[in-house]
Symmetry: D2
Subunit: 314 residues, 4 copies
């Protein structure tokens, strides 16, 4: 569009990580300016300060679990919202400076989680190799590129960026491993409902109230809201204090989600809205609503109540 | 008011029963036309057919329990609503055609429930008397008036109507016994909320759904709605099929009651709204709302949701 | 059995009521001594005093609902237990002293509930007849026998006892109407589980505890106990105080019922056990237990816990 | 004890980490053999293979949150149990090869989580220093010892082991930060109840059952079991599949915990018992049991049930 400045995206760097690969699945990234950040806090700070318009950061991995730093950053500081989720298969490659045989590889640089996810494969196919922990997948690729290590476990995008030879593809022990990323923005009206959306919340329960978490889940259940994920993170105050991150099926604009959010707001110490966005297709289809809890039931009940309030019981 | 026709009231007769006494506590009854009905169905039929504007019928007694016929009539047929509750202490008198000693009373006419409520007193104070069951308190008074029985257990209003001598007052074994009556009208906008109201519902649960009653109570509990009474009545279809009558603290115009009613409407086979009306002062004060469930909390949560939906997370 | 004295049964009289008919379905009643009582309290007092060994009294009717006096008597006084339920179709007849045409019937004696249950039939088939309320079905039969009334609505057993001509059979408007009776005894070990039993409880909830009834239902639901009936009765203290009668699927000897009963005992102000007895076949089959809540699941979980406690996690 | 071989302890190494410090709080460690492991999996493998008798590994940190690898290792493989928890204040020091001024420190080695926890202090007191991420606190100390970095953020035990000068103590931004460790053993009878114990479980819910997590919390709540912590970890199968780790107040030998565990076992796809052990004193006292849910109430209800089952209702 003439006259419209390109979107400034920031992502968890360095270049060549899965985050960059995830960002490239976002249509607007084609015409945008993409900048790596050294850490998730740095990426989100760029967003908060106005230096970037959107940030692509990892949320969780189907093997490694929650990305704690992302959750912590979303729960604190100036409010931010998730506007899109990106789910990417984790496809590790083994790459080296030169084309060489697997038997000749004596040292492999790998981020600890990446190494763990490829452990069986490495033991079977590069039995001579010692795996050395490094701080990121891209650091591993760089280490192989510099010759410090014989090879690296990294993302395909990392291998190509550092001009490495791919010795083997798809070396993750679990071929279904996936990482889920979030495209984060400053607050604004959420993307419109698509009929298959997720809403993410950070919920602080009252610690002096027994059964507070049960009450939270009941607020969702009564409105037929499906909870697809719950993560806890320490609040930092003291051991035993947690904030809960909830991924709920539905959009903040839906009647049932609106009612549930109000319910949570009433009974919780605090609720932070972290965005409504389309669910990325992967894994399970969303469950069908329970009897009486579909959109049409909410609309019908609202109509009925209006009539009752007006005294029309016909 | 000039030109305004007087309200036509019907009440469970015959004249001289507690229902007439209850009706006389209703301010508008002063200028109204009061007609006894032979039965609760007859009273409510007069209302439905337009022959009366309001009907005063008994709902429950603190000794005898539910008045099944009233509940059954409210749950079926053309919709009616309760617009007022009247709670009356049950004050039985022993009355006779002439002033006579208690020792000389050999036969006492009493409605079975009235006899049961005065059993100990009669045994202690009129030990010679045989209690004979009759079909209403007014029938008892009439029987004493005609001389068929030496005395009658009846309401004070019944004694005066049949010009009986009151031999003893307050003869009920439980001095705190009370009867609760309903003033019933054809559907229309309910009386405005007073801050201490009741809402009565007839609820048909889904019998093929395990835990359906638990789900009903959860809908109320989640919105902080206090259930002050639950009665079951057979639906008449077959043994094991019941309709539940719920008295809930709050008014249909309240946010929390509106939400709860919609919830019930969604999950129940049917919900019949039977009125919102001021709570009559008696017995317990309404419990204070649980944390987060007061009116102000509902208003605050609604405001918050509006802002969230607009993208304002400040 | 030689030497064993016959069981002394008492039932809600007078002779010729449905209660007598219900008692005759009990095998041991063949060799027993059957005595009518004038009221439910009288019947249960005979049991408590040792003058009778078992009492047959009505519990509920699918049209008329709860038999309050029976519930009240079971909830108070010396403990008694239900050992058997009897469910009887309500088959009213219209009977008269002589065989006569329906058109000629001008007055019909009927217990109010019986009259109500046959109202449409009477209007259609005996349009000339005025229905007069009397105090029991047997009183109606007696009235017809004495000639005070042209005819009576009564049970078949009542017609034959008073040697009346049956003018018409099955005159109830709802052909599926049924009455449920209880055979009551002094406390003792309950009849052994049959795999399809009911347990009846009287439960007093804590009135100062919000959500107490919800908590009661949750105790049942968590153990997969199906609630087939809940009735409330006033405790008599004051308006707004109720005792709840629960009929639950299962036997006190079952693991799940044992756990649920302990749960209720812990959270309720009082729980009165009113018996475990075989379910009489009628209406719905009991629902199948939810996943994980069958007898076999309780047994498996108990075995697992024993092993865990012993440190065996294999 | 003469003749009793010393316990062979393994802990998350290298030497000089907080895990070693935590292990030294365990009395039996005085006379035991202590061996560092390179990773949590290695420590627990030593236990499973019989090369060690107990392993000390971190569970969670009040700033960094869950230690995912420990949870994952406990949930899979041969069963292991926690027999003791150790809670340790996180007291970081800044240490260097020589005594030097803070101003002169240009590079600081730190584990990323340690660096994050001391960020504000470092910025204020060593503003010239660049923080370099390394893979463990002990690696940081080693790096300072070798002169690769000017200083290290590490545990006090790490500074002394590498003969470093402590330049500053208690440099964590949050002085209340704590780490919670577990002493893990092969299965066996748990330590006896102390009256203030925790039980840890890994729970797999049924993903095809809506509200499965709500059902889990209800099983606990109904028995008055307090949930002090819930963590989710991916099962590894696919995105959206989680195993939940629950820390519950109480001991497996308690009646209420036994009932709750059986309940979970029945409704969950799988439950793995991970130990009952004394709660380490820190932070909040355990909440007092709700009315009716204390030990004495469980005992009283059990006694009552025994009597009821025997037919004794006196």
């Amino acid at each position: 569009m003439p006259g419209v400045p390109p979107t400034r995206f920031v992502y968890l760097g360095p270049e060549g990580t899965f985050s960059e690969q995830a960002l490239k699945t976002v249509p607007a990234a084609d015409r945008g300016i993409l900048t790596p950040a050294r850490s998730v806090p740095e990426a989100l700070d760029a967003l908060r300060s106005g230096d970037a318009d959107a940030a692509l950061v990892p949320l969780e991995n189907s093997i490694g679990g929650q990305v704690g730093v992302t959750l912590d950053e979303l729960a604190s500081g100036e409010p931010l919202v998730i506007t899109r989720e990106v789910v990417l298969p984790v496809q590790f490659v083994l790459a080296a400076r030169d084309d060489r045989s697997l038997e000749s590889v004596r040292s492999v640089a790998a981020h600890p989680q990446a190494g763990a996810q490829c452990r069986k494969w490495l033991r079977a196919h590069a039995p001579q190799a010692t795996v050395v922990d490094v701080l990121s997948n891209a650091t591993a690729a760089l280490g192989a590129s510099s010759g410090e290590f014989d090879a690296a476990v990294c993302a395909e995008i990392g291998a190509s960026r550092y001009k490495l030879h791919v010795l083997a593809k798809d070396i993750a022990d679990n071929p279904d491993a996936m990482t889920r990323f979030a495209l984060v923005a400053r607050p604004g009206p959420p993307p419109p409902p698509t009929g298959d959306d997720l809403t993410t919340l950070a919920v602080y329960i009252s610690h002096d109230r027994v059964g507070a978490l049960l009450a939270v889940l009941t607020e969702l259940s009564v409105r037929g809201i499906n909870l697809t994920r719950i993560e806890s993170r320490p609040t930092g105050e003291k051991l035993g204090r947690y904030v809960f991150f909830l991924d709920c099926g539905g959009h903040v604009a839906d009647a049932q989600m609106g009612e549930a959010l109000q319910g949570l707001r009433r009974i919780c110490a605090d609720v932070r809205f972290l965005g409504s966005y389309p669910r990325a297709a992967h894994g399970d289809a969303p469950p069908r609503p329970a009897p009486g809890l579909a959109d049409v039931d909410f609309a019908a009940a609202a109509t009925w109540l209006s009539r009752v309030r007006a005294g029309d019981l016909s």
